[in-house]
Symmetry: C2
Subunit: 463 residues, 2 copies
Amino acid sequence: MKELFSQALKVVNLGLPSFKDALDNMRVEAVQVEFKPRVAVSPAARATLRDHAAQVAKANEVAIARLLAGKPALVGMGRAIDLIPGMKQNVLLHAGPPITWERMCGPMRGAVMGALVYEGMAPTPEAAERLAASSEFEFHPCHEHQTVGPMAGLVSASMPVFIIENREYGNRAYTTQNEGLGKVLRYGAYGPEVIERLRWMADTLYPALQSAIAKLGSIDLKTIIAQALHMGDEVHNRNRAATSLLYRALAPAVIEVTDKKTAGEVLSFINGNDHFFLNLSMAACKAALDAARGVKGSSLVVAMARNGTDFGVQLSGTGDAWFIGPSPVPDALFFKGFTKADANPDIGDSAITETGGLGGFAIAASPAIVQFVGGSVEDAVNTTLQMYEITLAESSAYQIPGLDFRGTPTGIDVIKVIESQILPFIDTGVAHRLPGVGQVGAGVLAAPLEPFRKAYEGLAMTL
Amino acid sequence: MKELFSQALKVVNLGLPSFKDALDNMRVEAVQVEFKPRVAVSPAARATLRDHAAQVAKANEVAIARLLAGKPALVGMGRAIDLIPGMKQNVLLHAGPPITWERMCGPMRGAVMGALVYEGMAPTPEAAERLAASSEFEFHPCHEHQTVGPMAGLVSASMPVFIIENREYGNRAYTTQNEGLGKVLRYGAYGPEVIERLRWMADTLYPALQSAIAKLGSIDLKTIIAQALHMGDEVHNRNRAATSLLYRALAPAVIEVTDKKTAGEVLSFINGNDHFFLNLSMAACKAALDAARGVKGSSLVVAMARNGTDFGVQLSGTGDAWFIGPSPVPDALFFKGFTKADANPDIGDSAITETGGLGGFAIAASPAIVQFVGGSVEDAVNTTLQMYEITLAESSAYQIPGLDFRGTPTGIDVIKVIESQILPFIDTGVAHRLPGVGQVGAGVLAAPLEPFRKAYEGLAMTL
């Protein structure tokens, strides 16, 4: 075989790299040329966006400036029903774009069942399942109520929520308290230990934290996130540093506002959960991104969210419209005893961190995360570098020390996504596909193309 | 000038890179060849060490295995006089190799004066200065009393100290509580606020931490350091993550063992000082390295320590001997209002972290530190890579995520230092050269050659 090519044959390979690998093995000189067929979008949409390029660029300047200027701070807590606009007793908020009970994936159904038991609306998970399937409850996306929730993202009326205020623009975002890993509601578990933990979080954790935050006035989340990125977090799947810094800020206040026993329990709970900060990093991004909504002509992505069935995208320039496609299954490191066959498709509002220039987009700041989500440190660095290709700016606050303090790639531009064919990178937790089980691993994925193609065409329709 | 070289002159430059820089500026083609004259050591020593290479290698295997197997844990607290072997009322421990009052640098004199006022031995700093110059007090190196102290490293009889036990070998190390940055005793300040803070640390901080540690039983420092390296610390000049993790471990116990007001004060003090963990990382390294002492023939460095006048080195194979040379002034980022002219030569036992494979040796794990000590992230990575050239092993516990979780370069081999002419890299705080002022910056330096040359020759004498 080698002799066949011995006449100084040189090869230019387009497309599949495996062909070049084979030539390399035979020591045949070959160069690889990246070739991806252009994304098939409507020619009319492409023409419209090209013709309005100057208008879109101007709109994007406005939108990205608003995103970068955001100053999210934790300013208080309360009950969902008392705070979240449009929240009602018979409303359940969930992650991702809108979905009906019939199309809900297993872990989201499990979380709905658990939430109904927790609210005292159903005596058993089975009764809760029947109730959920009836028309007594409305399911709304968190995102449509200034709220974000990780994984299933369930928020029911009586749940305590954090209030995050964007100090620059005055808008607010809400999110629940993080339960920890494993068998927890947001991963679709609903057993007695799940409900008991939620009750303790409402009866003990919430009043202590509410009083502590009131005592402190507010906690600057932008500063905590910026510091955490210097400490190896990307604040989606790694929140150990941010949780530590939040804990340091809260502890003296917790001691002041409650009795010794409660203070000890509260601090031990947070200390036992390195993901405690996740919900706050999500709501910080939500508060920052919401201020960038509604700029006519802007191709800035203001939400990426998954309900475990669909993957939805919203743009600044397309109002409340969701652009949707099937949600893919992440590549993951699975906990012992689980495989990819157990994994539910991607789920949760947590991709709001990537939308805000953190999470997978900032993964180069978090080399240690590859032990949790897979891949190599080199992959992580290259991934962040690639995300600069599809973003409008570099963060002025969130830096990657290992890239000489370069700001994180911030503000996904749907036009750049389509033209470059580089899809947003997300690192994420993975839920079991059946209700009642919980988390089975953590991993990574590229966002699906479909919602971005539709969003691109949807934006063209507004121009 | 350019014309002079226009006849296609090509230059090979040996040695000083500045000559090549000049040629580069004139666009003259030149290549730089690294050339360092071989270190001038006694030919007899070189011959002896060459002849005994197998014996030295075998001794080093024993010594490095002991160092790597060390399991430092924080197990308690007490008063220096009650715990530290050989401690007496009229003994003051200090950083670095032995030194007399006459040869002491400004910041160490300032710390001595402050310690005597703190102990109630002198009513004023001036009286303390006269007392120190008399023969009433003995000055001993911390290192000779199983103790380490940052900067001046002053330990007086009544000061509270942490007990760090090497769980693998049973030996113990001691260190004081860290005071914070700025005007503090260890940087040579001795004003009323310094003494007042030390008294609060003895009367309030110490009893609370002593009881909290007793409550917890022990705190595994090896695990905290390993995690902190995944969080951007090198645990010499950056201890934000390690301090956070220690704080998380201590807080619930502090609440339990003391009243609310004290608990709040104690936690706020630690929260206000990201360097709080430094003394513990030093004592963890001291406890691990002390177990590797006394292996005949071993060229392993078991201590690098500076008293602000001299830089001292000890080897496993040379017993209690100190090998000494003048201490250099670090290159530093200076606090506002200070310059290199204000800087004291390098001072402190904190280079025990580098000796233990941390600090400057692990600086690639800590890209964010360059904002505090200077240099670029690339420099930091290259520095760690260079330290592998002069060390005997890679740590089995302490990893650098950005280098694909490679163990830190651990166990300096004085023979490799001399043969490669690569000097140990240290990052460090910088004290004002006058007593009473305090910290003026933070920076980096290469250890001086002289002590290593002497240690190399000293080892040969034992064979």
